[in-house]
């Protein structure tokens, strides 16, 4: 029996962290949505906590299915899974249900499915499959383009409805880098981010002036043989173009609510009753926790229902308020522990396929974790990404569960890879 070997070889540490996170997540959803009802049955399917309990219940058979599937299946069918995922995304344009202005749901009665949550696993599988091909060398420009295409096709399909989620896929650059992508990609990305932020904070010409200064400095500090004024000039032209297009996109393409999200962060907006409300409220809720928090079900901000969307993207505010700094630290530690465990396991893999996939899992979990908590704590723009295993939502929970357990299955299976 395969099952027997899976239970023997399964990485129980990861499973344990997973279970703890899911349980903590549910407790916090329970606390944050309790105040909305008088009836306290935890199985009440009309309540968030009841629905979430149902989702958790469904996740258990899902785990068994994922673990019992033949290990080679994921590698063999990764292409097909990826294509199905893309079709599911494309189908949203026709059959999608619009919730809060984003048509990223399929509706099945009372429950909805969000294909983008599952496409994260599908894309990871496809990327792993592609990179594990012996002929693929990421030093080769054509290969780079193909690898990037695997990432960007779903990104484009998702970005239409939900620009925030599209950001998640950017984390896969770390995987490409690990597998041989030239470092200048990362430098380019790094410089682009810095220029982007500067372009928002300062006037465009000021940014260009600074960039020109830095370029000149680099030019004269480098050895004479390395000096290349044509390259420097091209760099400056590109920087100027980038800065002006950021300015243009920000002022003309972005909608006001997008602009506002950045402006709050940059300290340009102070209207705490309007757009700054969410972030301000979540900071107050977290900040009111102190060292030890107010205790389970004792959060006054939580009870007052002041934090909008608290059970989904802002679930961490409940942790902050009711469990305090120490509780928050524990959650952060659990996440970081799980991510490092996955990286450790990935590096241990015998096949390139499972190593790359493991890396993808670690990257995706990390960027969710980081962006979500950073946003809730007010140091990142308001981008709607869930906290894995924590946030309310069946699709999210199942998507992350599948993502994680496919890897745990591969890891458990590695003895058979000889």
């Amino acid at each position: 029996m395969k099952n027997q070997s899976v239970t023997n070889n399964l990485d129980w540490m990861s499973v344990f962290i997973y279970i703890v996170l899911v349980i903590m997540g549910w407790l916090n959803i329970y606390s944050s949505s309790l105040s909305l009802s008088e009836d306290n049955s935890i199985l009440d399917l009309s309540q968030f906590y009841g629905k979430q309990l149902f989702s958790i219940g469904l996740a258990i058979p899902l785990i068994f299915i994922v673990l019992s599937v033949e290990g080679k299946f994921y590698e063999k069918f990764s292409g097909i899974i990826y294509v199905i995922g893309l079709f599911a995304l494309a189908g949203l344009f026709v059959f999608g249900k619009t919730v809060k202005g984003q048509a990223n749901w399929y509706s099945f009665g009372a429950f909805g499915l969000q294909p983008s949550e599952f496409v994260k696993a599908a894309t990871s599988l496809a990327l792993a499959k592609y990179l594990s091909d012996v002929q693929v060398n990421l030093k080769d420009t054509n290969r780079q383009i193909q690898a990037l295409a695997i990432i960007f096709v779903p990104v484009l399909l998702i970005a239409v409805h939900d620009p925030g989620s599209a950001l998640i896929f950017m984390s896969l650059f770390f995987v490409l880098y690990r597998e041989g992508l030239p470092p200048w990609y990362l430098w380019l990305g790094f410089i682009a981010i810095i220029l982007f932020v500067l372009a928002l904070v300062l006037e465009p010409w000021a940014v260009i002036l600074i960039a020109a200064g830095v370029t000149t400095l680099i030019y004269f500090r480098s050895r004479i043989v390395d000096r290349n004024w044509i390259a420097s000039a091209i760099a400056m032209v590109m920087i100027s173009g980038f800065v002006f297009s950021v300015d243009y996109v920000f002022e003309s393409v972005f909608k006001q609510h997008h602009r506002d999200r950045f402006n709050i962060l940059l300290g340009k907006e102070v209207d705490m009753k309007g757009i700054g409300y969410n972030t301000n409220q979540s900071e107050i809720a977290i900040g009111s926790g102190g060292w030890f928090g107010k205790g389970f079900l004792e959060g006054t901000q939580t009870k007052g229902g002041f934090v909008p969307e608290q059970h989904t993207d802002y679930i961490f505010t409940t942790v902050g308020e009711e469990w305090g700094f120490l509780g928050s630290l524990a959650v952060v530690a659990l996440f970081v522990g799980l991510i490092f465990r996955i990286i450790y396991l990935a590096e241990r893999q015998k096949t390139k396929f499972s190593r790359v996939y493991g890396y993808c899992v670690a990257c995706i979990l990390f960027i969710h974790f980081f962006v979500n908590i950073a946003m809730v704590a007010g140091i990142f723009p308001t981008i709607g990404v869930p906290l894995p295993f924590f946030s309310y939502g069946g699709s999210g929970l199942w998507g992350f569960t599948i993502l994680l357990f496919i890897f745990l299955k591969m890891d458990a299976n590695k003895v058979n890879e000889w």
Binding site: S288, G304, V332, I343
Partner: protein
Amino acid sequence: MRKVLLPTVIIIGTILLVLRLFYLQIVDDSFKLKSENNAIKIQYDYPERGYIYDRNGVLLVANQPSYDIMVIPREMKNIDTLEFCKLLSIQKEDFIRIVAKAKVYSPRLPSVFLPQLNKLEFAAFQEKIRKFPGFYIQKRSLRDYQVKFGANVFGFITQANERTIAKNPYYNSGDLLGKQGVEESYETVLRGIKGVKYIQKDKYNREIGSYKEGKYDTIAVQGKDIHLTIDAELQKYGEELMINKRGGIVAIEPKTGEILALVTAPSYDPAILVGRQRSKNYTKLYHDSIAKPLYDRGLLAEYPPGSPFKILTGLIALQEKVIDENTTVYCRHGFSYARGRFMKCHCHGGAQQLHRGIYESCNAYFGTVYMKTINKYVRPADGVDVWSRHLKSFGLGEFMGYDLPTGRRGKAPTSKTYKRIYPNGGWRSTAIVSNAIGQGEVLMTPIQLANMMAAVSNHGFYYTPHIIKSIKGEQIDKKFRTKHVTTVDRKYFQPVIDGLFDVYNLGTAHALQVEGIEICGKTGTAENFTKINGKRVKLQDHSIFVAFAPRHNPKIAIAVLVENGYWGARWAGPITSLMIEKYIKKKITRTDLEKRMLEGSLQGEYAKYTGKKEVDSLLLKPKAEVPSNPDEKLKEAKTPEEATEN
């Protein structure tokens, strides 16, 4: 090394998050004190507003307690609306409307439900308040006016509107602040600083004691009393004289720049802007676009100054040395200053010199003198600019910096003004000769006229007019103690003052002499126009008078403007003389004049333009009429002892 990047990024990112959480949860307490935090209730303690006294220590404005009913919409539960409305005698629709509005402001922050209840209303409600969760009483203090005049000087107290609250974080919904008058200019002095108490609540919204043992609580700082430079008697007398007229009076003590009286007419009893009738009465005053009782004419009414401006024309000509005392101009009941251009004159004609030119107010003399001044320079533009700089040194064309919140610049034209009017150039002194007699582009407010007289009486300096005498324990602003010297030298003032003195002896105001006081003054008659159906229509002239007294060691400089008062000596002149007599002698000897002025009315004149007689019950009435208060409720609002005072 490629393995290291992701772990490094994760570690850095995590450290960042942990530091941020540490900052939010441990280091920074400010989030816990925000009013948005529903776990902490904020209670304010409003200090009493400072009292207002006049220059002699007469109490003008005190305080009375008042009670606001506040509501926190989220905490309202099982309210018996019917009983509630009956108790406060309001309509159910009002109840629903106010609560809805409060919800829009904030469901969890207190809003004012009903402002400014008096003791009786409060007592009735207080008994039943426990039946209405979500409502509570906030005690504040309201103004209690000891006098029935000075409404424009004091200003009034109003609730901070949403714009103020958004702009100034000190104010919350329902907070009171001063508007107009000294209540506005000395708002921060008078109001003090409110105290704050933070009270911790549990999740059931019960108060469980003060937050962090009151570490963040502050104690209210009492508002400071202020003394005004206003002379209560003079102010009162001025307002009485102006009843049934429109216009303004500004009286200044030349030696200090202190404003002795600041009268605007029509005016109203300041007490009508207190209590529950406040907003109704205010709306009525605000919408009276004909009499404009909220428009402070002493500070805001810009008019061509007319003949009093000849004082400056003469002084500037002397300073520019284009004339001396003996320069003679021949007046043929006017003079022809250009081909086909003739300026009429009502003086006795003949050879005019400075002295007689002033007391007979000869247009020909000053027209000629003015042209000489401008023509001293090759380019008329230069002449105008020199002349304009002299005007500015007398406070014309600027706000002057006095401590009242409203004002107008008036106008001291420069070459730029005429470049705008004559874009092609080619203008010469003949084009602007009307300025000589105060009928051109020059505009002045009564306070500027009074200040001009103060400067003349001082032989060439003035202090910025101000209304603050002292703030308890503080010296007044340095700018009110700084001497401004005019660009006209001291020696040139005496001949002009002599001329002004003879206005009373020989000239246009000889009928207005007051026994025992040497008054120097000047009549003025300002033409004014309006547009009716797009046509320029000349209205009855404004009556203007400026004066100072006594001639030596002056104690008062004054400007009086009576709208549509025919000519200077008809209304403004007598009022000026009476004001001067009142201030210097403290009693009136010219009772004939007094009777005529107190009883005289220009309402008939005003009705000509508007077609209806202005009988607004809110405006001040002559003593003869029984002051009937239209608002019975307002009367009820007074406690018995206050009522007897009235």
